[in-house]
C-alpha cells in the first residue's frame, strides 16, 4: 500500500470510471482508497438531491444566455426581436430597468428608490407572470403593471414568473399585429424547464415597439415537458384571431395552463 496520499482528482476520476487501468490499479492500492471513494459516492447522491440537475442545469443555461451568448445583442439595443426590442441582460435586478432610460449601460447602477417599496412581489402558490415597467417619467424606480394597464411604444418592461408547482413553461407575447415572440426559454429548441421557488426574473428587459392596441404576455405552464416550437407554432396559427379580439386567450390542449396579462397600447 502506498503511503503517499493520492490527489483528490484521481479518486474523483476513479469514481467516475475515467482513469486508465494502470493508474486505477495504483489508486486502488492507496491508503484509505475505499473510504474515499465511498465518501464521494455518498456526497454525489446528497449533492444531486440538494441541488437537482434539472433546476441547476436550467440556471446554468440562463446564466450563460445572459452573460455570453447574447452579449453581442447588448451592443445593438435597438434590434427588434419579434414585437419587442431586447435592450439589456437583466439577470440581476429590476433596478436596471429604471436606470436604462436615463443612465445608459456604461455608467453602472444608479441610486434608485427602494425597489421593495415599489414592487409587489408575486405571491401565492399558483403559477404567475408579472410585467414591470421602468418609470417612463425618467425619475427612477419601476412599476408593476396590471392586466389592462396602459403603456407606450418605447417603454421598457421586465418580465418575471413564479413557477409554483409547474415544472415546465414558456413565456410568449402576442401583439396587435398578430406577431408572436418567445421570451422564455431563449430559443424554441430549449427544454422549457422552469426554476422553482420564488419569483424568477428573465435575463432581459425589453423595449415595447409600435405595434398597435395591445401587447399580451402569456405564461403557459405544464407539469410535463413539451415541444416549445410546437406551442409557438400553434400560437402563431391562432394569432390573427386573438389580434382581432384580445379578450380571447389561445386554445391549447388540456395539459397546459395559461396565465395572461395584457397591456393596452396608447396611440
Amino acid at each position: 500500500m502506498s503511503t503517499k496520499r493520492v490527489p483528490d482528482l484521481l479518486i474523483e476520476q476513479y469514481a467516475l470510471g475515467e482513469l486508465p487501468p494502470a493508474t486505477a490499479r495504483r489508486v486502488e492500492r492507496s491508503e484509505g482508497f475505499e473510504q474515499r471513494v465511498a465518501k464521494i459516492r455518498r456526497d454525489n447522491e446528497a449533492t444531486l438531491a440538494r441541488y437537482p440537475a434539472g433546476v441547476y442545469a436550467a440556471r446554468i443555461r440562463n446564466q450563460y444566455e445572459a452573460e455570453y451568448r447574447d452579449r453581442s445583442r447588448d451592443r445593438t439595443p435597438a434590434r427588434t426581436v419579434g414585437t419587442l426590442a431586447m435592450v439589456l441582460p437583466a439577470a440581476a435586478a429590476l433596478l436596471v430597468v429604471g436606470f436604462l432610460l436615463f443612465g445608459g449601460l456604461d455608467v453602472g447602477f444608479a441610486p434608485q428608490a427602494d425597489p421593495q417599496a415599489e414592487i409587489t412581489r408575486l405571491k401565492g402558490v399558483e403559477p404567475a407572470i408579472a410585467v414591470y415597467r421602468a418609470d417612463p417619467r425618467g425619475v427612477g424606480g419601476v412599476q408593476r403593471l396590471s392586466d389592462g394597464d396602459n403603456a407606450r411604444a418605447g417603454d421598457v418592461v421586465q418580465l418575471s414568473y413564479q413557477a409554483a408547482d409547474a415544472r415546465y413553461g414558456v413565456i410568449v407575447s402576442m401583439d396587435g399585429r398578430g406577431a408572436v415572440t418567445l421570451h422564455y426559454p431563449p430559443d424554441p429548441g430549449s427544454v422549457p424547464q422552469l426554476i422553482p421557488g420564488g419569483e424568477q426574473t428573465l435575463p432581459y428587459a425589453y423595449r415595447l415597439d409600435d405595434a398597435p392596441r395591445f401587447e399580451m404576455f402569456l405564461f403557459i405552464t405544464s407539469r410535463t415537458g413539451f415541444d416549445v416550437a410546437a406551442v409557438v407554432s400553434e400560437l402563431e396559427r391562432q394569432a390573427s384571431r386573438i389580434s382581432d379580439d384580445p379578450e380571447q386567450t389561445p386554445d391549447l390542449p388540456q395539459q397546459f395552463e395559461i396565465r395572461s396579462l395584457t397591456i393596452r397600447k396608447e396611440e
Partner: protein, 159 residues
C-alpha cells in the same frame, strides 16, 4: 462538441462543487463558483474535444476559485489553506498578462496559468510529472513556472 448540460451536471457537478468547497470553504460561494465553471464550459462547448472532461472541469474550477479568492478576505484555516491563499494572492507577470486568456488556452492545450499549476502541485499534491500531464505542459515547463513563483517570494518547496 455540443453539451447536454443536464447530463454533464448530473455526472460532474458534485465533483466540481467539492473542489469549489475545498478551495472557498463556504457553501454559497462554492455553489456560485460551480455554476460559473459550467458556464465557462458552455461558452466553449464548440471547442470541446475531451471525451472525459473531469480534468478540464477540475482545472477550470481551480482557476475560477483562485480568482474569487484573490478578492476574498478570509483567513487561512490550515497550512494548505495558507498556501492556497498565498498562491491566490500572487500577481506575477505571467498571470497579469495571461490570466485573462487562461481558459481559452486551456481549451487549446496551450501553456497554463502559473497559479493553477501551483495549486495542483503544492496544495493537491500532484507530482511535477502529474501536474505537467494535467495542464499539458512539459515537466521542465512546469518547473520553470514554479521557479518563477518562488522567485517572487512565495515560501514554497517541491513536494
Amino acid at each position: 462538441m455540443a453539451i447536454d448540460v443536464e447530463a454533464y451536471y448530473r455526472k460532474y457537478a458534485p465533483m466540481v462543487l467539492r473542489r469549489c468547497r475545498f478551495m472557498l470553504r463556504e457553501e454559497e460561494a462554492a455553489l456560485d463558483a460551480m455554476q460559473d465553471v459550467f458556464v465557462e464550459l458552455l461558452r466553449r462547448e464548440h471547442d470541446l474535444v475531451h471525451a472525459a472532461p473531469s480534468s478540464l472541469l477540475y482545472t477550470i474550477a481551480t482557476h475560477v476559485c483562485l480568482n474569487r479568492l484573490r478578492s476574498s478576505k478570509r483567513r487561512p484555516e490550515t497550512r494548505d489553506d495558507e498556501i492556497l491563499l498565498s498562491i491566490a494572492g500572487d500577481d506575477g507577470p505571467e498571470d497579469r498578462t495571461l490570466s485573462g486568456h487562461f481558459l481559452d488556452r486551456l481549451f487549446t492545450r496551450e501553456p497554463d496559468s502559473t497559479r493553477t499549476i501551483a495549486v495542483l502541485h503544492y496544495v493537491d499534491g500532484f507530482t511535477l510529472e502529474e501536474t505537467a500531464a494535467q495542464v499539458g505542459l512539459s515537466v521542465s515547463g512546469v518547473r520553470k513556472r514554479l521557479r518563477g513563483l518562488r522567485a517572487r517570494g512565495l515560501a514554497l518547496k517541491d513536494v
